[in-house]
Amino acid sequence: MIRLLWLDYLATLRERKTWLCVAMLAYALVAIPVVLARPPDHVRAAIAAWFGDATPFQIFMYVWIDLTMNKVIAFLPVVIASGVVLRERDTGVLPLLASKPLSIPRYFVVRALSACAVMVTLHVATQLAGAAYFTARVPGFRPGPFLGAMSLHAFAALFATALCAAIAAWVKHRGASALIGFATLGGLVGLSLIGFYQPAWRGITLANPITLGALGLGSLDHLGPAVLGPPMLALAALTALTIAVGAAGVRRMEA
């Protein structure tokens, strides 16, 4: 199963849709320092209202997490995972694969894990490239806290990908599952930082997995295992649970 997972991961990395994702991430990387150099007035006003005495690095991290990477994890997981197993079924590949000694639920698990691995690879590669690029382009940039906060965010990306795969498994139609996945992730992303703006709602928003992924934003000066560990574990557990739920969804699927 490990070898199959590895081969599936490599095959997914080579797909055209993955290169579309790479292009989007590359654009975000290059564009954000340019946007931040002359932010639009409404962004500047919002930042002043929410982060009155914030440092330039905190403002950069808000922009990077909320305006960039949160949008990325509302869209890229849909591209990567909303057709898991369904595309094989719709294109006629599944009759070949389903005749092998691997049940469709187990095959779903392989495909979902592979999609998660691809998403995390893209996420991590973007942060590593960003750490190098932003150091040169963004005044006051701190690579350590940046990588710490974004390592937690990678777990949110992992969960988002698993969620899209699970939605696909239950919806069973590629177009509908992409729409529902995008709407669901869009909703979660849209509500993810409410706790930062409205501290009274902070407790409730912790139920939002995307909020857990952005918790580093509130602790940039003291990121460590105690801050990052619990949300990472929670997101990893949620991811495993979500994939299991997805596997149950394809139990009765026929090739």
Binding site: A11, G92, V93, S99
Partner: protein, 245 residues
């Protein structure tokens, strides 16, 4: 004789539609068994039930002594299958796809590579082995489809219309290869085809399905004698007309 496949009163209903109705037959180990019938006769559904891809609603079947419902994965571990209708993943190469299928059987990497190379060589695909499958012709894709069915060196091979898309030379080579597999390695082959001359050239015994039911199952020559048929076409028409009468 040792039976590789035993089918007993196997049936499948999709709602009100009966796709397969009380089919019974047996295939001996190492035999090449022909499966004939028009479109919608129930051949594909029967083959799919033998692999546990479709759950029977009546009867039972055993492949290599394993129950197709309760020991599905064990059946598949020792079987190769080529569906009548399928596609190959367009972004994968032929070699990559064979390695991928080998991984589904948990074959070690070295074994998988050696078998993939041997199959690519056998089907004359070495030069195209590292090209994406999206550019493959129908015949080349069919060869890859047959190669994937052989990657696990199966004891039972279920082929649904395997010669469709192949040119005359490719068809001849495939039939020769299937004969060699049965003769040299004792592989049991169920060969489902519309091309009656292929069935006659390859199979000693055949089963004929018509409107979800098995209407004949015997040696080709004996069936021909019994129905006064000189050719396979005559035989098939005689059997179908007898059922229609």
């Amino acid at each position: 004789m040792n039976q590789a496949i035993e089918v007993n009163a196997l049936g499948k209903r999709f709602g009100e539609v009966t796709a397969v109705d009380g089919v019974s037959f047996a295939v001996a180990a190492g035999e090449i068994f022909g499966f004939m019938g028009h479109n919608g006769a129930g051949k594909t559904t029967t083959l799919r039930m033998l692999l546990g891809l479709t759950r029977p609603t009546a009867g039972s079947a055993r492949v290599l002594g394993r129950d197709v419902v309760h020991e599905t994965l064990e059946v598949r571990r020792n079987a190769g299958y080529l569906p009548a209708s399928y596609s190959l993943p367009p972004d994968m190469t032929a070699r990559g796809f064979l390695h991928y299928i080998a991984a589904m059987f948990a074959l070690p990497r070295g074994v998988a590579a050696a078998r993939a190379d041997a199959l690519l060589r056998r089907f004359g695909l070495e030069r195209e082995a590292d090209r994406p499958l999206r550019g493959f012709s129908t015949g080349m894709a069919q060869k890859v489809g047959i190669a994937q069915a052989l990657i696990n060196e199966p004891a039972v091979l279920l082929l649904d219309e395997p010669t469709s898309g192949l040119d005359p030379l490719g068809r001849h080579e495939l039939l020769e290869m299937l004969r060699a597999l049965a003769r040299e390695r004792g592989v049991t082959i169920v060969f489902s085809s519309h091309i009656l001359s292929d069935v006659e050239a390859l199979c000693q015994r055949v089963a004929v399905m018509h409107r979800s039911r098995l209407v004949a199952c015997d040696e080709v020559e004996r069936l021909k004698d019994a129905h006064g048929a000189r050719t396979m076409d005559d035989l098939y028409l005689a059997l179908v007309r007898r059922e229609a009468a």
